[in-house]
């Protein structure tokens, strides 16, 4: 299917650097932050952001990973991906500011599931959301606090985020699906 690259490696790097700075600025430092990357690609993105923060703040920031499969509201869709990936929250999140990181924000359902999961782990002070791409078409009242790029899409398109750690390269592409000319 035809693809169009919207962001290349450099675009992605700059976006993540900007997001890292925004997060630290808005939260006036990073002492209360806990990053949680959403499986699968949110995890390396979260790691890159915290690595960047460590560079310019000279302070370690905890990063965890979360698989939201057990919190989905659409059970049969799980048939597509039966493996549950690891969930690892390294510290107690009670009273902390959780920064949830995902690659693409679309309907918002994954984020809702993630929030349910996080609250089962404890009571954070707040939850903020950072995404690399916001492609619109929300079905729930959810918004991202930090966005790499807004990419308007139609429902027939797919947004493919590829990261070096998993796919061997960094790229964001739009794939035209069926039903389009």
């Amino acid at each position: 299917m035809p693809e169009k690259t919207i962001m290349n490696e450099e675009d992605i790097r700059r976006a993540l650097v900007r997001i890292a700075h925004e997060i630290v600025e808005r939260n006036k430092g990073c002492s209360q932050l806990v990053f949680i990357g959403m499986q699968t690609r949110g995890v390396p993105l979260a790691r890159r952001i915290t690595a960047k923060i460590e560079e310019f703040e000279h302070a370690a920031v905890p990063v965890g990973e979360l698989d939201i499969n057990l919190y989905r509201d659409d059970l049969p869709a799980l048939a597509l991906k039966p493996h549950i990936r690891p969930t690892n929250i390294p510290t107690d999140i009670a009273g902390k500011r959780v920064i949830l990181v995902d690659d693409v924000l679309y309907t918002g359902r994954s984020i809702r599931a993630a929030m349910d999961a996080i609250i089962d782990f404890g009571r954070p002070q707040s939850i903020q959301l950072a995404v690399l791409v916001d492609r619109g078409h929300r079905e729930l009242p959810i918004r991202a606090d930090y966005i790499g790029r807004n990419i308007p899409t139609s429902r027939y398109e797919e947004v493919a985020v590829r990261v070096k750690e998993i796919d061997g390269r960094d790229e964001v592409a739009i794939i035209k699906g069926e039903g389009t000319s």
Binding site: P76, A77, L80, D102, D116, D120, I175
Partner: protein, 327 residues
């Protein structure tokens, strides 16, 4: 409308092999990949069990009913907890032996449970084949929690998982199962599971408790049969004594419990003949002093307690995998 997951799929993540079972009746029709899927899912479930709030809403809205025609607090509670941890609604029916006269009441009973909205029935029954009868005649998914002498797949899966966890593999291990093989559904399901995962299985027991046809090529996967425990246990990686039911002596299959313990008890002396790292498993409940010596049961090599913990996680994994299969 595509979800993030589906997007991941399209961008190249590989699909896990399809799960083919509507019911979990025995391990004879499982593939290695399916067992590995169960293990991976169990890992995730163990993580949930390590949290303070041991609960996820995954099976919210699903109804799981346990139907036990044989007494068993441990397995039943294990399933109940597993279901509750996944947010399902659980009900338990314990049918006393006297209400089991003819199977029509079994089909009728399960039929009623299905009408009540059960999505999954977990059943234990003293007659071999009972869950097959239920699965054949009704639409609900069935998990066999033990049928007669025939199968106990969830026990075998948790045994396999425990071994895998502690040793890191099942392939190539020498596993010795001791005792009343003839009447043991745990032994049978374990034979399927262990040989599928590449272990070498040795069955050891008195000749009167070793059933005919075990060495038939058609029957069961290849197993070694031995009546002398001191021989069988040499260099074993895993030792699994089975519970000896005291009524076997009444039926004349063994002359006395004392002699059985003398010849077949897993005690410290015998355990030393196995590998120093050998694991001791037991499906429970134990007759301490009969098939297993108390010091071995509670000794350093015993993983009996882990079996119980893993049991809840394995059952959560199975309920999860089965429930998400949809209609």
């Amino acid at each position: 409308m595509k979800t993030t997951e589906q997007q991941e799929t399209l961008s190249g993540a590989s699909l896990a092999p399809p799960w083919r079972h509507r019911h979990i009746l025995d391990l004879d029709d499982f593939s290695r990949q399916e067992i590995e899927l169960v293990f991976k899912t169990t890992d995730a479930m163990k993580e949930i069990l390590s949290r303070e709030i041991k609960r996820v809403p995954t099976l919210r809205g699903k109804t799981i009913i346990t139907l036990f025609y044989e007494p068993s607090t441990r397995t039943r509670v294990s399933f109940e907890l597993a279901a509750k941890n996944l947010g399902a609604d659980v009900a338990s029916l314990i049918a006393s032996a006297s209400s089991v006269v003819k199977g029509e009441s079994l089909i009728d009973t399960v039929s009623a449970l299905q009408a009540l909205g059960a999505d999954i029935i977990v059943m234990r029954h003293p007659q071999s084949g009972a869950p097959y009868l239920v699965a054949q005649h009704l639409g609900v998914s069935v998990i066999n929690a033990g049928d007669g002498w025939h199968a106990h797949p969830t026990q075998a899966l948790l045994d396999l998982y425990t071994i895998q966890q502690r040793i890191g593999r099942v392939e190539g291990l020498k596993v010795v199962i001791i005792g009343d093989i003839m009447h043991s559904r745990v032994a049978r399901s374990n034979i399927w599971g262990l040989t599928l995962m590449g272990a070498e299985v040795v069955l050891c027991g008195p000749p009167t408790l070793l059933p005919i046809g075990l060495d038939s090529e058609a029957a069961l996967p290849r197993v070694l049969i031995e009546t002398n425990l001191d021989h069988a246990i040499r260099e074993a990686d895993v030792v699994m004594p089975l519970r000896l039911q005291l009524e076997r002596q009444k039926r004349g299959l063994i002359p006395s419990i004392r002699e059985y313990a003398e010849l077949y008890q897993l005690n410290g002396r015998r355990l030393k003949m196995a590998k120093p790292s050998a694991l001791v498993l037991h499906p429970g409940p134990m007759n301490e002093g009969v098939e297993i010596a108390p010091d071995v049961a509670h000794g350093a090599q015993s993983v009996i307690e882990q079996q119980v913990t893993n049991g809840v996680a394995v059952r959560m994994a199975l309920l999860y995998i089965l429930a998400r299969g949809g209609k």
